[in-house]
Symmetry: C2
Amino acid sequence: MERSGLLIILSSPSGAGKSTLARRLMAWDPSLRFSVSATTRKPRPGEVEGEHYYFRDKEQFNAMVGAGDMLEHAEVFGNLYGTPRGPVAEAMNAGRDTLFDVDWQGGQQIRASVLGAHVVSIFVLPPSLAELERRLVSRQQDTAEVIAARMQKSRDEISHWAEYDYVIVNEDLDESTESLKTILTAERARRARQVGLGPFVRRLMEEQH
Amino acid sequence: MERSGLLIILSSPSGAGKSTLARRLMAWDPSLRFSVSATTRKPRPGEVEGEHYYFRDKEQFNAMVGAGDMLEHAEVFGNLYGTPRGPVAEAMNAGRDTLFDVDWQGGQQIRASVLGAHVVSIFVLPPSLAELERRLVSRQQDTAEVIAARMQKSRDEISHWAEYDYVIVNEDLDESTESLKTILTAERARRARQVGLGPFVRRLMEEQH
């Protein structure tokens, strides 16, 4: 049955397992499209245009914002980041879902956009904040100061849990992956997404006339 | 995680496989409660009060309607039928789901009731009307006239498909049963139903204070 694509928003505090879950979801369904952001920051070595980012200068970026071509955008450390609408709408019309790895601000903006009716939003919670801190420490990437700042950012992020359609407490990666798959399968089956149902019922009713 | 119970509305034209699907769902999850209707018609041999129906006289029935104790009610062939609110609300508060086998009118009334926010509604479509008629004929229960009347009723019922959250085209009973399970599992996981999430996040945030 033909259906319209979904905009799947996955948010969580850093370290709650969101990236791993996103990767597993993409492996489960290769038709999923991972949303690529546009940015005004310079490409780093190895970064590929259209794969890691759409690299744009400030003028181009602001022109897209002005034309309503960004689903959401924000400034982070002096650089602009945003989600171009075109590729998302294109995937949607082709019945393909797009996965967004965004924070609560990005989530709010996408929900408030013209494509907001197609959003399914999922928030991933850690089982505990101590566990979250343990994971950040064990990465051995950050100083104690950076970790403290990340934990504060995590608290801010977690405070927005109630804005999401689904909340998953990520105690076990396998269980959480199964939950994500179930949510996606059911959301895809919703009547409002099955754009093929109208024509199907019309044919059904005309059968015996 | 503690959650509030759902009101699961299952509707379909007669012969589309709804009763079989309901039975399979109850076998899959014995905690599901099948909604028992109240009626003013006389019990038939073997019918048990509270299991097949709540048998009430007209005065008792109308008193319940007057007191707002019926989620929905209708008159069919001179008898009154309705869904008492008490047992549904009780199951809901205990985190148990109630399954309703009702037509589109019953579905509309339950959605419009005070418990409407807890409804998940699913419409089961036959793959074709010819198939539906074939199933009715093969039962060998009805005359051609009765079958023609049932088919007209089926068309009326089908015309309300777009009022439901989910639509399942029942081509294969096993597949349709899996779809139902997936829908139920996902709907139970919705943030708004997980009444235990609020306290959980409060504990999470207080952890390090």
